[in-house]
């Protein structure tokens, strides 16, 4: 990706993949080679995809978001046939009588950052350098667009079985619940086309520059270097900082009663710091890391982006692949500013995850 006109080519795929993982560290690499091979082949065959800033598009341009809904493990075990994302878009086009002029990721993170590139190549339309989350949140209405008043519906979830679900709901929360009810039947994952809107609406509703950002982060991660150097380089791009380094001493499941509204069990990881203050860090997990406590004190939490770096390998440690004894760095990266607003905090902050504590930023008197 370079120059005034920005393009995503096959050569960018490895960096996109790695950077996307940084912004959704929950999901491991099962199926990585298949998906990256698919996207690389598409970009070699169809040519590079144009990446446009939202403000460069005509305001009336119809746009639609794409993501993978559901589990990365399900996707790995039942890879896409390849037509699911375009099929989902076509159904909304048919319903609304429009032709979308651009696609954008619902979440510029995990494989959900890659599939809009694939769909853009298949459809021959540009990709917008913007998304709705700036990371991955678990529910489809946890987006900047929704905060800006843009509806996620009508939406279509097209599954690997060839079945699809069309949802039109009064609220985002109801749309999400209706979708989840059918997700298992669709195969555990689905291509989700949602938030059909215009480029003009996205100028005020989407988070800009997030595809470029993951590509830049990915290039740093691909250098596979010493963790200390890696973190300092990541910090220059993302503003991340290390909360601590230690060995995992415990992985707890079902550490609290399950909350049906979040699509994962609450669980915890305990890390004993190996240097510095020798604190015990407790990491609270849902689908992503939602809070970090040090000796019982909350030191970071949603909507911060929290991730683990494998300190022995200098690579991201994904949450489905942790073992006791692993040496990890705990990183915190500020989320996009919108998430620290009162509305954002109410939507995706600690309280939403069942942790009734003020965010450390608020305690420090920061906005």
């Amino acid at each position: 990706m370079s120059g005034a006109a920005t393009w995503i080519s096959a050569a960018d795929v490895p960096a996109l993949y790695e950077g996307a993982k940084f912004y959704a560290p929950a999901v491991g690499d099962a199926g990585r080679s298949s998906l990256t091979s698919w996207l690389t082949g598409l970009l070699e065959r169809e040519g590079p995809v144009a990446l446009h800033r939202v403000e460069t598009m005509a305001p009336e341009t119809p746009c639609v978001s794409l993501c993978v809904l559901g589990s990365g493990s399900a996707l790995a075990d039942l890879p896409p046939a390849g037509d699911e994302f375009v099929a989902a878009i076509r159904q909304i086009e048919q319903l609304q009588g429009v032709r979308f002029g651009a696609v954008y990721p619902l979440a510029a993170a995990t494989v959900s950052a890659l599939v809009p590139v694939a769909a853009a190549a298949q459809l021959g339309v540009p990709l917008l350098d913007a998304d709705g989350m700036g990371r991955a949140f678990a529910l489809i209405h946890h987006t900047a667009m929704y905060l800006a008043g843009i509806s996620p519906t009508p939406l279509v979830a097209f599954g690997p079985t060839g079945d699809s679900v069309l949802v039109d709901a009064r609220t985002g929360a109801r749309a999400d619940r209706l979708l989840r009810a059918g997700l298992d039947t669709l195969g555990g994952w689905a291509a989700l086309a949602s938030y059909p809107t215009t480029a003009g609406a996205l100028r005020r509703g989407a988070l800009p520059g997030t595809i470029s950002r993951i590509a830049n982060v990915g290039r740093v991660l691909l250098q596979q270097t010493d963790p200390d150097l890696l973190i300092s380089r990541l910090a220059a791009i993302t503003g991340c900082r290390r909360l601590g380094r230690g060995r995992i001493s415990e992985l707890e499941q079902l550490s609290r009663p399950s909350d049906g509204s979040i699509p994962a069990h609450p669980s915890s990881v305990v890390i004993d710091e190996t240097d510095g203050r020798r604190r015990q860090l407790r990491i609270e997990l849902r689908s992503e890391i939602v809070a970090v406590f040090a000796n019982g004190e909350l030191i970071a939490g949603a909507p911060d982006l929290l991730c683990l770096v494998d300190a022995t390998r200098g690579t991201l440690a994904t949450l489905d692949n942790l073992e006791r004894g692993d040496l990890v760095d705990v990183l915190v990266t500020p989320g996009d500013a919108v998430w620290y607003s009162d509305e954002g905090m109410a939507m995706v902050g600690l309280n939403f995850h069942g942790i009734p504590l003020d965010h450390p930023r608020r305690l420090r008197g920061e906005p």
Binding site: S34, W38, S71, A76, P79, P160, P227, Q253, D320
Partner: protein, 433 residues
């Protein structure tokens, strides 16, 4: 760490151009210099060395087949059989890249690909009935052709193998002599990784069998009592008979053996090991005498497999003292011997191991405990079948993590078990792991 106790253990690393061996007896490590460095000469020379130096038998001979298996796959003029692949998924891929393996080395072994409608989700719920009509067509086509090696992978077969077994039964009926590999025999995650595993399994079956047969013939001609073991990708070992049925388990063993061999020579059970690879430095980790392993892409293959192999990562940072500083709490070992010798030592001191990686659905802490206990019991049974003395199995790793973005209650369970070598002892080992 596996201890050799009071018996001599032979470690052998088979390479296409020559083979290597050492004899290990406690702290004593004797490299073998055979007059003939082929498989037969090396094993015979190593065993004679063991008998000469340590006359009290019995002896164990652990062989690393991995370099030979990798050579068989990568060699341009490879005589490996071509494989027919049958994927059981709800719909066929619409893009050529999604229809094939992303690994060229794997795809080179594939003569024909078929898709049969069917499959289950991760938790074993049927997504699509098995298309018996299409299956009959495929059976007829294969029976009329020359391909006799068939790899089968069905979506969700690790949770519910019914469709996969249905396909395997139909193929076996149509082609009674066919060599069939089914992904459910290996478990694991990811259709592409599971498919690559069974393609290699199928393709390598002949060469693995020939190598094991040769090793057994050599040992049968030698005086004394010997047990043949074969190194696994995770640095442990299994029996020759299991490698005959699941040859891909031996794939990629060398890295783990080198890491464990270097640690053993330093007398360390927990350390970071620095090795040289093509002029660069890589690092592996040893915990409790076992190499740290993962299901990452195996070097030189280009795709993930579902048999774990050692994790080696580039290591470029060196402190002014010459010691990498990223892991201050464990010793760092810089390998000081040839990689072939390290691999032989690692093989000689290896333990029987097993690995289990599954997804389960649980609704309570009690159910979680029950599911874990069941997984642990099965992994323990596997390690005993792989050569562990009954009652000696210990859990090197048990992890249960929620599967992100899945319905509440979906967990991934991984169990890694090791045991004390069972070499038909009439006396107990001096040291337990």
């Amino acid at each position: 760490m596996s201890r050799t106790g009071e018996f001599a253990h032979v470690g052998v690393s088979l390479h296409p151009e020559r083979s290597y061996a050492v004899v290990v007896h406690g702290a004593a490590v004797l490299p073998v210099e055979p007059a003939r460095a082929d498989l037969d000469g090396t094993i015979a020379s190593a065993v004679r060395t063991a008998i000469g130096e340590f006359p009290d038998g019995p002896f164990a001979v652990t062989v690393d087949l991995a370099p030979m298996l990798l050579d068989a796959i990568t060699r341009a003029d490879s005589a490996l059989p071509r494989v027919a692949v049958i994927r059981v998924v709800p719909r066929p891929a619409t893009d050529p890249a999604l229809a094939r393996s992303p690994a060229a080395l794997v795809e080179r072994r594939v003569a024909r690909r078929f898709t049969v409608a069917g499959g289950h989700d991760l938790l074993g719920n049927e997504l699509c009935p098995l298309d018996h009509g299409r299956l009959e067509e495929i059976c007829a086509e294969l029976a009329a052709g020359s391909i006799r090696h068939v790899a089968i992978v069905a979506a969700g077969s690790q949770a519910r193998p019914g469709h996969e077994r249905g396909v395997a039964d139909a193929i076996q009926t149509a082609m009674p002599g066919a060599r069939i590999s089914a992904a459910s025999e290996y478990g694991g995650h990811g259709l592409v990784a599971r498919e690559a595993t069974v393609v290699l399994d199928c393709a390598l079956s002949g060469v693995a069998e020939q190598l094991v047969d040769r090793c057994e013939r050599v040992l049968s001609r030698l005086p004394g009592e010997f047990q043949l073991r074969v190194a696994r990708g995770d640095g442990g070992y299994t029996t020759a008979s299991r490698i005959r049925t699941m040859p891909v388990v031996a794939f990629g063993a060398t890295d783990a053996l080198e890491v464990c061999g270097a640690a053993y020579l330093e007398g360390l059970a927990d350390c970071r090991v620095l090795l040289s690879r093509d002029g660069a430095q890589v690092a592996g980790e040893v915990r409790h005498g076992l190499a740290q392993v993962s299901l990452a892409e195996s070097a030189g293959i280009g795709t993930e497999l579902v048999v774990p192999t050692a994790v080696l990562t580039p290591e470029r940072d060196v402190t002014p003292t010459g010691v990498p500083g990223r892991m201050p709490d464990v010793p760092v070992v810089r390998a000081r011997h040839a990689p072939e010798l390290l691999a032989c030592v690692g093989a000689a001191v290896s333990s029987p191991t097993s690995w289990l990686d599954e997804v389960a659905f649980i609704e309570s802490a009690d159910e979680l405990r029950s599911v874990r206990r069941d997984a642990e019991e099965r992994a323990t049974a596997f390690v005993t079948a792989n050569g562990a003395a009954p009652g000696t199995a210990f859990f090197a790793e048990v992890s249960t993590v929620a599967v992100p973005y899945s319905p509440a209650g979906t967990v991934r369970i991984r169990v890694r078990v090791a045991g004390t070598p069972d070499i038909g002892l009439s006396r107990p080992l001096l040291e337990a792991p």
